[in-house]
Amino acid sequence: MKTKKWFIQFTSLFLFGLFLFSCSSSKKSSYKGHKIAVVISTLNNPWFVVLGEAAKQRAVELGYEAVIFDSQNNTSKETEHFDNIIASGFKAILFNPTDAKGSLANVKAAKEAGIPVFCMDREIDANDLAVSQILSDNYTGCILLGRYFVKRLKGKGTYVELLGLVGDNNTWNRSKGFHSVVDNYPDLKMVAQQSGEFDRNKAMEVMESMLQAHPDIDAVFCGNDAMAMGAYQAVLAAGKTDQIMIFGFDGAADVVDAIRAGKIEATGMQFPKTMAKTAAEYADRYIKGERGFSQKIPVAVDLVTKENVNNYIAYGKAN
């Protein structure tokens, strides 16, 4: 009887100890195997491929399984991804929205499902849905670009502008930053402005039309580097590379090379790897219990010209 009682007590104590131990070790490894979703507006643009891959890489380094979703610049496709993510038990979303307003409902759905969202590069028009939004300071970057534009054109001439996607706040931050400088100079005249949708091929078509209507322009300002390369193709085909200066924005590999070769004047170097890394790290900290993140975190943009291009590589600094 005594032995039986002793045995029961010992076994209970042993099991209790085992239980405590397994709780402790499961807490240490509780984040391993958790999934983080990386939702990117489009993987058709190398810049966004870098953003997505960098976010995934950092999430994996932090111990998570990470999956990239391509929204193909389509808000409906993005909604399908969010429905899938919410149903599949992902712990956080690193998100590059397709549309500042159109993406609100998706972020709201994730928030209601208890999944934190961290926006990268593009913002949504709300400051109480995403946990944090890590964004390029496009406006200030284009102020720098605008000042260089004025300097290169010596304050006079005619130019055209290729805008990005009209539903993306980045389009307007860049355009407004640029115009906040350039519009002060009455001898600098914009003769046409049209959306190239941030797409190289579309930009080439638009530029070809603009050159038909305005063959004597001195420059073109493009809201991203993919459009700058498309514009360059059109200008090259028209035989006007000596006449027309081209300005882009992003810091893409082909434009950095083109600046070095004197084909493109300047670009605004964004840092997608910094944004992606920060978003992944914030998600990790959030999952581990931290709160109180800043809602909007702008990341500075550098001006890259032929004078300083050797300090830069694609999407970042040389050292």
Binding site: A100, E123, D125, A126, N127, D128, L129, I134, L135, D137, N138, Y139, T140, I143, G146, N169, W172, N173, K176, G177, S180, V181, N184, Y185, T274, T278, S294, Q295, K296, I297, P298, V299, A300
Partner: protein, 206 residues
């Protein structure tokens, strides 16, 4: 039982009537709608200019001190007086000094400091950028629904600088001493040779 059925029916009718007569909207959605409709950067900037700017200007540091610290102790200068937003190496400061009026058609007025390390000028034409907004530290990016609204504040402040301060230069004779408080930005990774100051307050010394 009849009494029970009566009370239940009356209650049901009352609930249906009440539900149909009220409109429920989540607070965050309402705030979103209202803020989009009501945001006016001009009003916000003017309110700040009239009510919030003057006390903030009192914290401006002397340009001589700024210049000396920039070379001798930049980290301390930045930590104590610099303001930055987000992930950046650009910091903005409020500074004060004096200058002498030049031609009214000039783009800038040189600001001379004895033994200065950098060359300073007061920008009096083509006012743009975020120095005025960021150096005051009054506007916080998280208070704005999107960055376009936040940047619109810069545009309006720059307009007010031209309309309220730079216009004073029209009546100040060439050579007259001007005291000013202004905003400047520097990149902490490169000490610039030339630094431009955006005026926030200008006064002739008579």
């Amino acid at each position: 039982m009849n009494k029970f059925i009566k009370i239940s029916l009356i209650s049901l009718i009352a609930i249906v009537a009440l539900y149909s007569s009220v409109y429920f909207e989540k607070l965050n959605i309402r705030k979103e709608r209202v803020s989009i409709r009501d945001f006016n950067p001009r009003d916000k900037a003017e309110y700040f200019w009239d009510n919030g700017l003057e006390p903030i200007l009192q914290s401006a540091i002397d340009l001589k001190l700024f210049d000396s610290q920039l070379v001798n102790n930049p980290e301390s200068l930045i930590n104590r007086y610099g303001k930055a937003i987000g992930i950046t190496s650009t910091y903005s400061f409020l500074v004060k000094s004096t200058a002498h009026q030049v031609s009214p058609n000039a783009e800038e007025i040189p600001v001379k400091i004895q033994n200065s390390h950098s060359e300073y000028s007061l920008q009096i034409k083509y006012i743009f950028g975020n120095a005025a907004r960021d150096a005051t530290g009054y506007f916080h990016i998280d208070d704005f629904e999107n960055t376009m609204d936040f940047n619109a504040i810069s545009t309006e402040l720059n307009r007010l600088i031209v309309e309220k301060e730079i216009v004073k230069l029209d009546s100040i004779p060439i050579g007259e001493t001007i005291t000013f408080i202004g905003a400047l930005e520097i990149n902490s990774e490169i000490i610039p040779d030339k630094i431009t100051i955006i005026p926030l307050k200008l006064e002739a010394v008579r």
